[in-house]
């Protein structure tokens, strides 16, 4: 069994367990935190696949921005107290063990995989990590230009829609 396989299995365990933890926790804030753990685990998966850019983007966008907004809304609505039908005593130790495992693997992969090629581990030819970013940019702006533009317009429409929904109409004030 190679080291990559061991890492993958441990990560998969953490990912599945944190997903289950999110589903079964009674408290909305705890559920959100499990989801954060899950997102970070997925980011470490990307590191394992020698795709540090996607990994960092995953952490920044999902774990960093979107989940913080989730938490914000949960806290704002005060809906963190779901009816407590059962207490799960195994949650806390499980969370600790999983996050320690994840942190160790993330640190290991970050220092080994996210390095310039030829330093420690030779990455495969296709996803040479130093060229990773440039290739991504080229692919986005040449081969996939149309989908990229469509997505950006979609996001713009969503943004304008959100502003329209929240803005009071001028006549409604009186």
């Amino acid at each position: 069994m190679t080291l990559d396989l061991v890492l993958f299995l441990v990560l998969a365990l953490v990912a599945v367990a944190s997903a289950l933890g999110m589903l079964f926790s009674r408290n909305a804030v705890y559920a959100a935190l499990y989801l954060v753990l899950n997102f970070v685990t997925v980011a470490v998966f990307y590191l394992l696949l020698s795709a540090p850019f996607i990994a960092m983007a995953q952490v920044t966008v999902y774990a960093g921005a979107i989940m913080v907004l989730f938490l914000f809304v949960i806290m704002l609505l005060g809906s963190d107290a779901l009816p407590k039908s059962q207490v799960l005593p195994w949650q806390k130790p499980l969370a600790i063990v999983m996050s320690v495992l994840l942190a160790a693997e993330a640190a290991y992969l970050l220092v080994t995989k996210a390095r310039p090629a030829g330093d420690v581990l030779p990455p495969t030819e296709l996803v040479n990590t130093t060229e990773n970013l440039r290739q991504l940019g080229n692919a986005l702006f040449t081969d996939y230009l149309l989908p990229f533009e469509v997505v950006s317009i979609l996001l713009l429409v969503a943004m304008v829609g959100a502003i329209v929904l929240t803005k009071k109409e001028k006549g409604a004030r009186q």
Binding site: P52, A57, V59, L71, L76, L110, A114
Partner: protein, 373 residues
């Protein structure tokens, strides 16, 4: 598997060096800040413990360690315990990608003065900065107290808003360095620091980082007068010390990042010959930038909350988008025409773009004050 145990030893020693440097830096930054603030406010500051009060941080540390730890009866205990740790860890982890100096020769092997030369270093910094908000939010929530909760919510909104400007203001740096690795960013500034090529970007980055570390004038989450202490109102003893430590370590690390991105990092005269001068230059730059942070705290009143938000979204974000456009255009023109003088169009156009909001805000405020009078 890496079988070279010396490599593990190297990482271990480098991590230890960073952790102790940040710990010591935190202790003496509090002293530095108190003395500098006192000087600005024509006071003396702590000068009793030891020569020039140099033992004051040690006295403070002993006091904090021996304080009683309280936790509210209705707090969410586990998260309440976890929040200070979650706040402290990102502040240390960011340091991993900061290059301290050029590679040196030691014991017959080359040692890079950086813990991890991650090729997406700039994004790594953004990712950690994005995750850093959790500690504060969870501290606010788990305390189960209204003041703490308000502080936590304020910090969430503020950090999300300013993170955007922070991220976009780094794009010119990536474009100019043509790389996302922190080491490459420093090397690219051998001729000229990026602060001269993109002064507006440096300013936006500076403002956004002040907001990210919740420093005055952006210290809304802990506004003493309104929220007693915001998110850490319910914390005491060592747990409070961790928040305290996190804030000051973040200041140090962020000043180091600022130095790397815009002030040439470890570069300075003679670094090529004597690589050990690198950390010294970086230290001097960080020291000066820290003084600027303290200076800002001493001179600027706190923002009003709605102005904080509209400043972030309506001024900083559009302006940083504009400078990204200007920088990309400048680089493209310089490459297409083969004339590097086009690069100077970048700072010129950026400063003009930066002056537009400054003038607009100034005129609006002036008009408002006339209306009030």
């Amino acid at each position: 598997m890496i079988t070279d145990w010396t490599l593990w030893l190297e990482w271990f020693i480098k991590s230890l060096v960073w952790i102790f440097a940040l710990l010591g830096g935190f202790a003496y930054l509090t002293y530095y800040e108190r003395r500098a603030l006192a000087r600005i406010q024509t006071r003396v500051g702590p000068n009793r413990a030891g020569p020039f009060g140099l033992l004051q941080p040690i006295a403070d540390a002993i006091k904090l360690i021996f304080k009683e730890e309280l936790s509210p009866a209705k707090a969410y205990k586990f998260i309440f315990f976890l929040a200070p740790i979650l706040t402290l860890v990102p502040s240390i982890v960011i340091a991993a990608v900061i290059p301290l100096g050029p590679p040196i020769q030691l014991f017959g092997r080359q040692i890079n003065l950086v813990l991890a030369d991650v090729n997406v270093g700039v994004l790594y910094f953004m990712a950690i900065a994005a995750v850093a908000v959790y500690g504060i939010v969870l501290a606010g929530w788990s305390s189960n107290s209204k003041y703490a909760m308000l502080g936590g919510m304020r910090s969430t909104a503020q950090m999300i808003s300013y993170e955007l400007a922070l991220g976009i203001s780094l794009i010119p740096v990536i474009l100019l360095a043509n790389s996302m690795s922190m080491v490459d960013v420093v090397k690219a500034q051998g001729m000229l620091w990026f602060v001269f090529l993109q002064p507006v970007g440096a300013l936006i980055f500076w403002i956004a980082t002040l907001a990210e570390v919740n420093r005055a004038p952006f210290d809304m989450p802990e506004a003493e007068q309104e929220l007693t202490a915001g998110y850490h109102a319910e914390y005491s003893g060592m747990k409070f010390a961790l928040f305290f430590m996190a804030e000051y370590q973040k200041m140090i690390v962020i000043c180091a990042v600022m130095a790397v991105f815009f002030f040439g990092g470890y570069l300075g005269p003679g670094v090529d010959k004597y690589p050990l001068l690198g950390p010294v230059y970086l230290f001097i730059k960080v020291f000066l930038l820290l003084f600027a942070m303290i200076w800002v705290r001493a001179t600027w009143p706190r923002f009003r909350y709605d102005r904080l938000m509209s400043f972030g979204w309506k001024v900083l974000v559009p302006l940083s988008l504009a400078i990204v456009f200007i920088t990309a255009t400048g680089i493209l023109l310089a490459e297409e025409t083969g004339n590097p003088m086009w690069m100077w169009a970048i700072p010129a156009a950026s400063v003009i773009a930066g002056l537009i909001p400054v003038v607009t805000i100034y005129r609006t405020l002036k008009r408002l004050s006339y209306e009030r009078a």
